[in-house]
């Protein structure tokens, strides 16, 4: 048994909120640089170069790369030999968000109730997915999820007879209908299988993968490559104004599934793909 004081978690979460919003990951940056090189549309090329410039300004001035600093989403893996002391881990994570968003001059975008719509003014509560894993460590992954791209996401309970061709049609249709709304270039996160809620959750989790990384299963690696090519043939381009670069990556995460079901979830992520992790 290892004891971890939850107060140790607060400053780490605070820092992650700021760092994720100021510093674009190297994988996203190099994917953007590559895309700019290959973009055929002059307008698209200009937009990509401005997006790269924007990330440099954000880094140098330590300001958020995008004003929508997102819903604070966490994936927390807790080793089963860990015992938290000093209070609630959920409260500690929310306190870290509160401090990070206030001290980091990040936007507070969360409403306490979706219908009555009053801003909580501190960007809490966070959405936290907990997982119990072997060991005595805690891994905390933070993702700032913007509303514009989240709104273009969708889950569909497809029929087993729709098969992989049905999945491809759905994904391409979803990207086509999104157009310029989610700030392309985008990253397409696909969950397939599981139950209704599991499918959506793995779609989100797939977005944490490094751009350029290959799916460990060759079947899915090939499907990801095929979908990426097809998505980039649509022609939506940077910001939807036409071009070769619509997506920087397609990620798929699969889960075992019921004999009657074929759930597919598409979670769209914008180029402001912000996530950080710490291990305690």
């Amino acid at each position: 048994m290892r004891e971890i004081d939850v107060n140790e978690v607060i400053p780490k979460v605070r820092q992650m909120c700021m760092d994720a919003n100021y510093f674009l990951g190297d994988d996203v940056k190099s994917a953007l640089v590559n895309a700019e090189k290959n973009e055929e549309s002059p307008v698209g090329k200009g937009i990509l170069s401005d997006i790269i410039k924007n990330s440099e300004i954000a880094r140098d001035q330590q300001v958020p790369m995008c004003q929508d600093t997102g819903f604070a989403v966490f994936f927390v893996e807790i080793g089963q030999d860990v015992h938290f002391t000093g209070g609630s881990i959920t409260d500690a994570i929310n306190e870290g968000v509160r401090q990070g968003y206030a001290d980091g001059y990040l936007r507070k975008s969360i409403l306490g109730d979706p219908i009555q719509r009053v801003n909580t003014k501190d960007n809490t509560p966070a959405v936290i997915h907990y997982d119990i894993v072997p060991g005595n460590k805690v891994k905390i992954i933070f993702a700032a999820k913007g509303g514009g791209s989240e709104n273009m996401s969708e889950i569909r309970m497809m029929k087993p007879s729709d098969g992989v061709e049905g999945l491809k049609d759905f994904v391409l249709d979803r990207v086509r209908r999104s157009g310029g709304n989610p700030c392309p270039p985008i990253i397409v996160g696909i969950g397939v299988g599981g139950t209704f809620e599991k499918c959506a959750q793995i779609a989100k989790k797939s977005l944490l993968r490094e751009i350029g990384s290959k799916h460990p299963d060759p079947y899915y690696a090939a499907l990801e490559a095929e979908l990426l090519e097809k998505v980039n043939k649509i022609g939506i381009g940077p910001q939807g104004l036409g071009g070769r670069t619509t997506a920087l990556a397609v990620f798929i995460e699969a889960h075992p599934c019921h004999i009657a079901s074929f759930p597919v979830a598409v979670n769209i992520q914008c180029h402001a793909a912000r996530h950080k992790e710490v291990i305690i």
Binding site: E40, S41, P42, V43, K45, G46, I47, S49, D50, I51, K53, N54, S55, I57, A58, Q61, V63, P64, M65, C66, Q67, D68, T69, Y105, L106, R107, K108, S109, R117, N119, K121, G146, G147, G148, N151, G179, G180, N181, P182, C183, K233, I234, G235, I236, G237, Q239, G240, L241, G242, G243, R244, C270, H271, A272
Partner: protein
């Protein structure tokens, strides 16, 4: 974006708007106003009741944005556009009231496009997710209404060479449709 950029100053006149064709890159200077869904709802409710708006919309531009808080010594935090389709329900009434332009990201509706034609106005795109870059062109910011809405309050911005692209012009042109048609290989 190597082509020449046109400098325009608010308030916009019919003559200026007529020069702006889709694909034209503009640098906007002068005063612009901000508004997102919640503020638009309040403003169009006011118009419906015959009440005055927080600012005179004649010839003006509304920027769909909810900025991040300003760091000390800065007029504003990161300030890129929000998705425009959510304003489809409100922009026609604002255009009827004299608005000459909107700045946002993503498509707007056919109804908005028709209104832009009717009133000789246009819709500009600013780069979504380039909030730190765009903020450099914003020199002053002042909340003028609906302070309780936080990031969604209406702000009066003083801008210098604010970069945008004409995406719907006053002739019914739509750069999204044209651009995607040109680059589609499906």
């Amino acid at each position: 974006m190597s082509e020449e950029k046109i400098k325009i100053t608010t308030p916009l006149t019919d003559d200026v708007v007529r020069k702006l064709k889709i694909g034209t890159q503009v640098l906007i200077s002068g005063t612009i106003y901000t508004g997102r869904d919640a503020a638009h709802k309040k403003m169009t409710d006011a118009l419906g009741k015959g009440e005055p708006l927080p600012f005179d919309p004649k010839g003006q531009i509304i920027y769909f944005v909810g900025p991040a808080p300003a760091k000390p010594g800065k007029p504003i935090g990161s300030a890129g556009p929000t998705t425009s389709y959510r304003m489809n329900a409100y922009s026609p009434a604002m255009l009827d009231a004299g608005l000459k332009g909107m700045i946002g990201k993503g498509q707007m509706s056919e109804e908005v496009r028709d209104k832009l034609k009717e009133h000789i106005a246009c819709y500009f795109l600013a780069i979504g997710g380039a909030g730190a870059l765009i903020a450099k062109s914003i020199k002053e910011a002042e909340i003028i209404a609906y302070d309780d809405l936080g990031p969604e309050a209406v702000r009066k911005l003083t801008v210098e060479d604010f970069p945008a692209i004409v995406t719907f012009d006053c002739y019914g042109g739509n750069l999204f449709e044209e651009g995607v048609r040109q680059y589609s290989r499906e």
